[in-house]
């Protein structure tokens, strides 16, 4: 495994390999040939989601997405979220393994648990140090948001 940077989410040390780029919506990005970029969830996203039970793509391969366009859903034990395009471009490949068993994301988020490949302009992706700066800003608000919503969840599970 290559070197990585660490961001502390409370007591949890989230690791971010430096062999790749990152999108602001907490996906990692590995540029491959001819404008193809492979995306997956960063340790930050996986930590917030925790055990993933359900992943659904609302699109098929070859779909054209605009940056931040919703293209699917993800649901975990404690949370759910829409999936939003990390950049503008064409979805050229979806990781079919995850459709059968989305827990592959928990098992190997930086490898076999990749999400999809898109063709497009990845110039807005962040370098690992830039992403860590972004996280420092995002983490504080994320914590409070989760805490605010989590109160409802706890009373619900009584």
């Amino acid at each position: 495994m290559s070197e990585s940077l660490t961001f502390m989410m409370g007591d949890f040390a989230a690791e971010f390999p430096t062999d790749r780029l990152y999108a602001k919506n907490h996906m990692w990005a590995i540029p491959k040939d001819s404008q193809i970029v492979r995306f997956g969830f960063s340790a930050y996203a996986v930590r917030l989601l925790q055990d993933i039970y359900f992943l659904e793509f609302g699109i098929e391969e070859q779909a054209e997405l605009k940056s931040r366009q919703e293209f699917g859903n993800i649901e975990s034990k404690k949370a759910e979220s829409g999936l939003y395009a990390p950049m503008t471009g064409k979805v050229v490949r979806i990781n079919g393994q995850l459709l059968n068993d989305p827990s592959g994301i928990n098992v190997d988020k930086y490898g076999e648990g990749w999400l999809m490949e898109m063709q497009g302009d990845a110039s807005e992706m962040l370098s690992p140090p830039q992403y860590l700066e972004h996280l420092a800003k995002a983490w504080d608000v994320a914590q409070r948001t989760i805490k605010g919503q989590a109160n409802t969840i706890d009373s619900n599970e009584e």
């Binding site: 659904e56 293209f71 649901e75 949370a79 759910e80």
Partner: protein, 372 residues
């Protein structure tokens, strides 16, 4: 003991259907199993386990099985109770709303007097008040309302009492025929396709069929389509005018229906936003108001969408609907259509949620400001 007289309409007791979740959540599976097992052990009940209700095709074995049942049904699903009821209705498994007391506390909303007043004014226009459903009760229970089988058992006992089915008088023969039809004891249907409950042969008490849940071995693909709440729908035709994918149609009585559900664009809830009566549900949508929750209802899980890049949405429902429809048109290789906020549709749209901003709203505003 064999009971002497069995009324045909209730001879089969209460059918308790557990609709399984789509996801692989072990907690959900375990609760489903425990509910189904308890349901089977109660007097005058039959326990049936089916795949996720929403994914079932209308001619699937599970739906055909449920259609055979003429008596009351309790349907348990991972859907809002309103959605569960109307998904069944769509499958032509119809009845009147049975009162359910086991509710998710998050959804109990005690200041909706105004909404009820409004409803009264329009009562005469609602499709369900014109096309009257059968009198048997359908009790739709959201499985998120409880975390142990016992909680559900208490609700089943309450329903059995309300249906006057609390005394042990299971008609095992017709039950046996429901659970295990064979050539010799094939289900006999009356003209309306209902199970003939007037069995006269002596019943056996040794039948294990009433004790273990019956499981339908089907594995439907996930589906996505609108479900109409006909107790709200006024047949105004806004939806059929709005949808450009040919999902909606009308029946011979000119009543709106979801005619081509599989034409619907996966993930697109746009028609639900243009419905002036909030009568269109997408039971799997992550916004509770669209998934069939009462207005003002809270979510159940933490929604991380804002953290994961959901665009800032400061648009009204009509604008959101037009944007979503255009996104789907483009994905389908078609041209987007113009939307002018001056169209009549906009005026007809009722706000989905009217409430004061709370602490969470201000937190979310801060999220937007951060440009995540």
């Amino acid at each position: 003991m064999v009971s002497a007289k069995i009324e045909s309409s209730t001879s089969n007791g209460l059918l308790i259907v557990v609709s399984q979740g789509q996801s692989r959540s072990p907690e959900k599976r375990s609760l489903e199993d425990s509910i189904a097992t308890i349901a089977a052990s109660l007097p005058n009940t039959t326990s049936l386990v089916v795949p996720h209700l929403y994914d079932l095709a209308s001619d699937s074995q599970s739906v055909l099985k449920m259609r055979e049942w003429s008596g009351p049904i309790a349907i348990l699903s991972w859907l809002f109770d309103r959605a569960g009821f109307w998904v069944l209705d769509r499958h032509e498994i119809r009845g009147q709303h049975g009162e359910v007391q086991l509710l998710n506390l998050d959804l109990v909303n005690d200041d909706d007097d105004e909404a009820e007043d409004k409803e009264d004014e329009k009562a005469a226009d609602r499709v369900a008040n014109i096309a009257i459903r059968p009198s048997r009760k359908i009790y739709s229970i959201d499985m998120r309302a409880g975390s142990s089988g016992e909680v559900f058992a208490a609700e089943f006992r309450r329903i059995l009492l309300a249906e006057q089915l609390d005394a042990p008088k299971k008609d095992l023969l017709s039950l046996d025929r429901f659970l295990n039809p064979t050539n010799s004891t094939a289900l006999s249907m009356d003209g309306s396709g209902r199970l003939d409950g007037n069995a006269s042969a002596p019943a056996s008490h040794e039948s294990p069929l009433g004790i273990v849940p019956l499981r339908m071995d089907e594995h439907p693909q996930r589906r996505w389509y609108p479900v109409i709440d006909y107790s709200r729908c006024t047949n105004c035709m806004e939806c059929i005018d709005f949808c450009l994918f040919g999902v909606y149609g009308v029946d011979r009585g000119e009543t709106i229906l979801v005619e081509q559900p599989d034409n619907c664009r996966k993930g697109c809830p746009a028609c639900s936003r243009v419905c002036p009566e909030n009568a269109i549900m997408f039971p799997q949508h992550k916004t509770p108001a669209i998934a069939g929750a009462p207005v003002d209802a809270g979510g159940f899980k933490i929604d991380l969408s804002k953290l994961f890049g959901a665009p800032e949405r400061d648009e009204d429902p009509a604008e959101a609907a037009a944007r979503e429809r255009n996104e789907q048109l483009i994905l389908a290789g078609r041209a987007a259509v113009d939307f002018s906020p001056a169209t009549a549709t906009l005026e007809a749209v009722a706000p989905k949620q009217e409430r004061k901003p709370d602490e969470l709203d201000s937190l979310l505003d801060q999220l937007d400001a951060l440009d995540l």
